[in-house]
Symmetry: D2
Subunit: 242 residues, 4 copies
């Protein structure tokens, strides 16, 4: 793990944008999976002007690492990524590979047949979840799998209000084993409300109670955080990750 | 070859900076060789604020791809890189590997023993030279070699005024075979005065009269140019490089 | 280039077989292109017992690097590879990707969409040809292309007797630029009748008169030869390739 | 994980030998760490005739992944590797990098400065240990570390008879985090006495009680076993690893 502590959200976003852009402008097919949510908002704002309509990026293909299927509608994450990135960046739909309840069994085989994922950029929740590997239900022995959303699922409570009746009772997500195969993995974390989770993910035990703790085994992981998120990290202990 | 035509010098510099920064923030030793000269000036201005004093970059080592030895003084390229980048970016000298007339025989063996070059960023002259592979003397069958500077050397005439009495009568440069081993090669070219050379390098024959023409065989080359440099490229012919 | 001089044809074949087998048994899709002809005969005999019916090799896909289309029949190279390898090794046809006059325009795009070629094993003719890059018509600026077989084609004369009326008047071949993108390239050469060509390919000038001379620019090339083929190599000059 | 079930110890050894030899004959420095013990005996017998005195292997450097220091003597593993491989294969000592109680703090930094480990071949004990990551003391959060050998260490009991008075009270070993950085990892396991451990390592939970269970997170792992070791594996469950 390479840990990079940036001074603020803007610097974190810029560094993540450098990596995403760099990985795209190469003479080969590139397969990427990038996160929705609030964390990457500014990263996309940095990226979009460079790639919007850029004729040199026909080689870049986009995959989803998780999805919440909704009947008769586009999935929740895809909708968010459309709004945040695909639509404003004018990404041709032929370069976007949707994930849904009909193809989740075969999705990773498709990625493997395309040479594997070159880059994944993910965020982490204050509860330590990554993709939809939610505590405590995350299963580190899985590639892509379905994780139930039900009353026993604490994460669900927080989001209850926004659950649509048409929403599936499960989420689809890549698991730890999928992520280990990604050639370059980037984790971005900002804000003091995630400082506890970041500390646990980096310095605590590996446990499904804090799923991001498993990511430390990835051989090419860059963790980019702002100072607020890094506030609880013991500077002595993190020396080896700088 | 991936060809990227950016709208101006600033956009070219920013894209090159994205790549340099991205390659540095990884959890492994990184060996880079980056160019002096006028072309990368703005690229370094983009890079320096991010890496100056950054504690997460102890893994980055800097190598020279060419040098003009000067008796009793630091080499010409090293001096330029000091001024442009190493000094303002506060790069510790332990991470900089000087090249001179005493170690050029062994320099590439040192690089190989450190895992090889991960990234090289080069420019190209209006005469098509890269590193110090000067037309028509460039020798495509060489790894690092010495190329004589003498009256038969047309390139010399142009720079005659600046030649110091203490300057060596040769330059040291990596050759085509060295560059082919670099894991990622980036060529940056801007300005209308290089448009002819760029066209020849990309679309003309491979020849020592235009040394950069050999670079097309590199398997992971990104050529970043501004619109002025790209002005003479036939849009039909370059489709396959976009 | 890594040059390995083995004591005889058997040792050459075994080393090539080690590489082919090693590249196959990995946890990812593997795309390989391997040669027909006489040279690899013993290599295939080494490989076949290991992979015949092996359930752990569903990840290996086979591509052709050249082909001579024949009307109403399977191509000439595919037929040879069927006989030498695909049939005795029981390779499922879903893992074999035929090349013909209908798909040669799109064939390399398919390979790129599958992640590129991981391994290519080629031979070299006594005339210095590789794949169907024939002297003096080889075009080093090409990816896959068609090379005409006509009276001006000296190579043709030698094979005249075996030309069928239904045979196409051209061959399809990957060019130098295709090969540079292959992740690992292996060239096998045996026999005294190829000693002159081998010497020229390694130590002579790069020229379309001896097409294999261009291969020296490949960054991950292993050249495996027997002592007969190596007989004319100056031991001093080849030191740097060992 | 790619799982390969071979019919017997000989076939297991040959496949491992293919991989070791293949990784060595490349045009770059190669850093390998290979196991002592009984398991690889036949693998070395396959390898030695090919590499003994081979002038094309000056690029291969050998590192140790664990060691038992002994006062005034060469370490226990180094002695075993000398006997098994280094001495009969005539490996020059300049290509062998000893590990001992004086350099274990710096050893992995040396490897990283040499470009990292390209290949590691390990065995597994019937107790599930790998390298010297012994149950239950193995610490998955470590790079290289010292693991105490004392009365609480069940593994010790079994080997008590062979412990020399001069032997250190600890072993030095690379940990899980070190292994995750190895570019290609090969695990060889044979014999019915390891069938339980193999089943647990592949299909059981990840636990320090069976340290090899952590290896499943490595992105480029080939597990080569003979039929006796594979006897307890549920054929349905292992389908995804073939």
């Amino acid at each position: 793990m390479k840990l990079v502590i940036t001074k603020d959200y803007k610097a974190m976003s810029e560094l993540a944008a450098h990596i995403v852009l760099s990985e795209m402008f190469v003479d080969k097919r590139v397969n990427v999976a990038i996160t929705a949510g609030r964390t990457p908002k500014l990263m996309y704002e940095q990226i979009i002007p460079v790639i919007k309509g850029n004729p040199s990026l026909k080689n870049v293909h986009y995959y989803m690492f998780d999805e919440t299927p909704i009947t008769h509608r586009i999935g929740d994450n895809r909708q968010q990524l459309n709004d945040l990135f695909f639509t404003p960046a004018l990404i041709p739909s032929v370069q976007i590979h949707p994930l849904d309840e009909h193809n989740d069994d075969d999705y990773e085989a498709q990625i493997e047949a395309a040479g594997g994922l070159d880059l994944m950029v993910i965020g982490m929740g204050a509860d330590g979840h990554f993709c939809a590997n939610m505590p405590p239900k995350a299963d580190f022995d899985q590639y892509m799998y379905r994780i139930n959303i039900d009353e026993s699922f604490p994460w669900q409570k927080r989001y209850q209000d926004s659950v649509l009746p048409e929403q599936s009772t499960y989420m689809i997500t890549m698991g730890a084993k999928s992520l280990m195969k990604v050639k370059r993995l980037v984790l971005i974390v900002n804000g003091s409300e995630k400082a506890e989770a970041l500390k646990a993910a980096i310095l605590g035990p590996v446990t499904t109670l804090l799923p991001a703790s498993i990511l430390r085994y990835h051989p090419n992981l860059t963790v980019i955080v702002d100072e607020e998120a890094a506030a609880l990290l013991d500077r002595q202990e993190i020396q080896k990750f700088l």
